[in-house]
Symmetry: C2
Subunit: 112 residues, 2 copies
DNA sequence: AATATAGTTATCCATATGGCTAAGTATATG
DNA sequence: CATATACTTAGCCATATGGATAACTATATT
């Protein structure tokens, strides 16, 4: 638990569900109301709302209500944090792979 | 559920836990045995093993047993799939942001 | 004013998750 | 051979998750 980033628990959990990923994807092409977002999902509204709550409390989306309509939009930051974490991890083992490649290369050239 | 990638359910779920992320991080600096991996985690071994099973069944790590010792290593592919998904989503709304910026810019220049 | 619309709240339910202890198996080591 | 080591398996438990229905609130519409 070296450099534990609590936000990642919540972000990765949010992304672990296909309904929620679909919502993120949909919001990529612009704001949408709760009903609009719900349409493609074969699920009762309260069930769907729970997914929106997971996304919003996790900071991946935000929403505002005008009259009786709630409109949602994406919040870029958290996705970026998740991507950065993965990217850094990959950088580490890619670094290792590179060093290993160099090592193999050195062995090879020493044999000449 | 347009372009639903089932692997992502499993990968993001695996990454949603700090213990599992720590294991991924640790394996970034090379192979390790189950006991070695378990040391930093204040948890009974069977509990810890469950995390390894989540990682392995999700394809994020693999392991082989020699004698009574099981050694684990990272499998790059799944992390890459997860990073790619996020990256593509970001590209979409960054594209939008860019178009919006252009639009605003055009409005501004029309005012000249 | 009456009705339709768009969420929201309150429960409920089955299953999954993340932790535990106790006991078992297989391989080293003394 | 006896014992220690390194997992494994089996079961238990509390809480979280993802779904549902029923009833409610607050705005539009007619």
């Amino acid at each position: 638990m070296d450099n534990y980033i609590p936000a990642l628990d919540v972000v990765f959990h949010a992304l672990a569900d296909p309904t929620r990923r679909a919502v993120i994807h949909r919001l990529g092409s612009g704001e949408a109301t709760v009903s609009e977002l719900a349409i493609p999902h074969n699920m009762a509204l309260p069930s769907f709302m729970k997914h929106l709550q997971v996304l919003e409390s996790g900071g991946l989306i935000k929403s505002h209500k005008t009259g009786r309509v709630r409109t949602c939009q994406i919040v870029p930051l958290k996705l970026a944090v998740a991507e950065t974490w993965i990217s850094k991890e990959r950088a580490v083992w890619e670094g290792r792979a590179e060093r290993l490649a160099n090592y193999v290369e050195n062995i090879a050239s020493e044999k000449k």
